[in-house]
Symmetry: D2
Subunit: 332 residues, 4 copies
């Protein structure tokens, strides 16, 4: 007889044909926020809830495990352009705290990181519309819009000045070596992603580097440059091959996700930990929205891996994950 | 001459044909999380970022203003089924703390709230798939799935027991009066939404009440019942009409959003504050994803209103908003 | 030995541990559009493709099977407001051609259907923004915006004139009876949904009827009205109970989807055919985006049912499905 | 006096403070599908509807104008992996019919195109789940899943055989030259994208080429290769610079969209025609979902451009657009 106590005072027999099913079920906890709530408690509590709150809590827990697993190489795929939205220092601190071992990102993030490192700033643009300005007005004012953020054209001029004066050591160096060289040219107090990666010897891969404002300036000013993308591709496979254990965290999908995934595909070690924070969904078949479960079929993610996909804007989830990791560390 | 200091040491002339544009621009702040970060600081900092992080921060700020505005009637539209995902106590505490004056919700939320109040629980179901069970197995085990949460069929039996014993005072009472009567039958220690609303005399409107498991049990067991929906509709219009000032917060869209909006449409006071937390988008024309700006054309939202739409799962945003409001209150 | 011919000239041994898997695999056909392509061929071809094209083709095929299955009662859940987007005659013709047996819809669709039936029109509004008008301008011009469609406030006055003159036969009639009465008042040449349903004796259920401009006008002008929602709820369960076989098609989610689903849940016959056209997704736990597979756990959809979810704007998918059904019929 | 005839018999005075607004408004047409409906009529009719149906119709119309504008260079950005979903021949025919002048795409599309050209096929995988197989089973069977499509690992072996035997003419040739070389190695009867582009001298740019299975095989087998990405970037800017007029069509976003956009940004001619078919949305700030209006601020799209964004799975929209273009051509 299957008698199942669902809560104090409410016992009843459950028609439970599958014994295993029964044994794996836990109650949903109704979350309570009190005067003493802190980020670690909040996330721990959400772990026993449902929907994306639970997925976010699981992502935090999995990331924390990755960080504490000495054997795990943490691959971090960063799509989009998060620096314009104020995430530069969070990303800088992910690297500084040792939460990232290999960074794969877009040229956009590097271009905007460079702009901030050189002393330029992005501007808040959400009042534009309310004030009666439209995109034609912005064009005339040489203000480039990224949803609710603006980047003045002047920033490109600053980047061009900087880039044109670079003494590139080797026209055929790999993209990742070039990015390390670049990071070392930046002021050490800048909280720049490029700079902290250079200082900590964290490789940055940027497979679509020529798809960026930064690469355009390099191309315009250093016409002999032919940075090597293929050596980076093979180096990346080597990093995946040599990893005792692999963990992946994808912020958005795009090229960074695929590049990490393809490196793991042919390796003995598929990912043991996998996190993805995205607004993309699987139904239209693109890799950006593909489930982490699908990656098991490819051998990119291990069938025994711990994984969690959170459907969330990265600007909301990233600070929370970082805050959780930092506070969890403090407690240990 | 337009000289614009973007940051220390980087001065340059900006081709800014629109003086007003220039004067309204603020820098994006790069967020920093430290050992001293608390929820109020985090949100305040995100207010100067971009994308949904900024929208969430604005939503928190606007909600806080609503709470502190004595003249403002706070209409809260709650779609979906958030109790199964662990949000019952958060919602209970929104009401307890005085953050909601009028609640419009779905029958689903009320049904699940009643289940928890009667001592039943929802179950975490995210391991189902990993253990090799599918929806046919769940059906045989009489487990109803709501994404990653399960509700045993037995819960319906408990609700039926409870409902069949109700002495409904008036077959033609309004739905909102019935819900108040119902709330008063529930144990006071239950942290139930129905119960706290009854105790605090907060009206609950449920325009699609017969679209719920709870209403089905009422219909099966009390065949003479014809709860009045029209009087509620007019009462709701009266509440909107009488409000000195109106504020709205929509969790998801659906009927709760439209019902609040239609009440405001014909009133002298359209909403002065408006928040919506949703995963729906405007492009396919449904009201659930419609922008708050569109509501200005209808006279539902005031053209001078403060408003913010956050594209986020409510299970992530709601606890953060509540936490922010609670901590902000403590500081005052 | 597993020798598998993937295409002419390319034979190879497939490491296929699961015999069943192998036997169920068909090649993806690369679609070809020629001078002779018609809608039936296009859809048939897409049935062997992937992603949402395939889902749409399956939805067409399943709907066609429903139509040809004499035992099947076809429940049609219509959310949103599709009449403003030009879908009134398509929906009218779905009913006229016998593709719908029971309609469950929103008050919005009925309100807009009534407006068109009375000779009013919705207006194309996509040039508004380009011409420099915003929602405040629209408000001043008494133009209500629905994404890129406008409805002049004047329409409400026309509806009020019509409604105030209605001689409602019974203040406590069911909503569905009232809607039949209403349909019969409309001109027979109107291609109105209300009118064709009345003429063909197709019941219309509208569980959230008081959440509509139409109901507001009824409430304002006929204060004694208390249309019965509970009897409709039970009548709907009876319809589901009495169906030899059931098929469901959901355009969007919301109340119409849930109302049909809850009626099927407690019946001996769960749905044998199920289609849903939606932009909503499952990850945030709402019923609107819930998979049809999930509905199997509830006993709403049969575990042997044929089902397909298409992630598509209904304004794109609906005309294609109708066109396919109509042309398929012609061929038989 | 503003008297506005909305339809026969219904005249009324419109409170229309903005004369321009009034003059720009047209009625929404209620679509009718008859026995004589063809794709051109359907699309023409949808042009006067609303929501995404209208956007799709506008996209068709704009594409047709581009095709008929002799001065217009048509840039086509193709993200994702559409060949596995059966779109290879549609894309092939877009090129064959002269609808594309410059193609920018992902390595994924090229890898899958090559596979099909070599005689391999993708497999329909939507029955996998229903048959009780999961991603671990697929992994053991060496079947890689792309949502509901499968690609056997064996395909990689075929690609490797082919690639290892290539005599690459120049290790430092540009990616686009290499892709032209590659296309010329493929059978002319293959309906391959690579082959038709080579034959018609349509350049293919692939900025993230090393993010692909094809590039991995090249890297593994031809270790001296350092295909030049920078020359392609500059060549692309030249193409944009030299265009009398530019038109863009984006299928999905990602690198292809950004690469075309960055090339137009610094040119005298921004895009005069712009179409985007995507499931991505603007609210989380990524370029993939960014509106075409935003691109005006960057000078990527002309403020007088005709543009349309369709929120749709490309597998649904692409065949319809192609069908429309082909039938429209026939009529001329």
């Amino acid at each position: 007889m299957n008698l199942w106590i669902l809560s104090e005072g409410v016992n009843y027999e459950l028609k439970m044909t599958h014994k295993d099913l029964k044994e794996n079920l836990k109650e949903v906890h109704q979350l309570k926020i009190t005067n003493e709530t802190n980020i670690v408690e909040l996330i721990d509590s959400l772990k026993n809830s449902g929907f994306n709150a639970k997925r976010l809590a699981l992502a935090c827990e999995i990331y924390n495990e990755m960080v504490n697993d000495k054997d795990c190489i943490k691959f971090f795929g960063l799509a989009g352009a998060l620096v314009p939205a104020g995430m530069q220092k969070i990303l800088h601190d992910f690297i500084k705290e040792g939460y990232i071992d290999v960074l794969v990102t877009t040229g956009a993030n590097l271009t905007h990181d460079l702009a901030e490192a050189l002393g330029y700033h992005h501007l808040q643009g959400d009042q534009i519309d309310a004030k009666g300005f439209n995109d034609s007005d912005l064009y005339k004012s040489e203000m480039n819009r990224i949803y609710d953020v603006l980047m003045p054209n002047k920033v490109y001029e600053g980047i061009e000045d900087f880039v044109s004066n670079l003494k590139i050591p080797d026209n055929e160096m790999t993209v990742s070596s070039f990015l390390q060289f670049l990071g070392n040219q930046l002021p050490n107090n800048s909280e720049s992603i490029l700079n902290i990666c250079a200082k900590k010897d964290i490789p940055i891969f940027c497979p679509a580097f020529t798809d960026s404002g930064l690469a355009l300036q390099i191309g315009f000013n250093h016409q002999q440059v032919n940075l090597n993308h293929f050596k980076d591709m093979l180096k990346m496979v080597d990093l995946a091959w040599d990893a005792k254990k692999a963990g992946v965290c994808f912020i958005g999908g795009g090229v960074p996700k695929n590049y990490i995934m393809q490196s793991l595909q042919f390796c003995p070690t598929s990912a043991s930990y996998a996190i993805q924070i995205t607004m993309d969904r699987p139904e239209s078949g693109g890799l950006s929205g593909a489930t982490l479960k699908e990656a098991i079929s490819w051998g990119k993610v291990n069938e025994k891996a711990k994984y969690s996909t959170v459907i969330s804007d990265a600007t909301v989830a990233l600070p929370l994950i970082f805050w959780f990791l930092k506070e969890s560390k403090k407690k240990n």
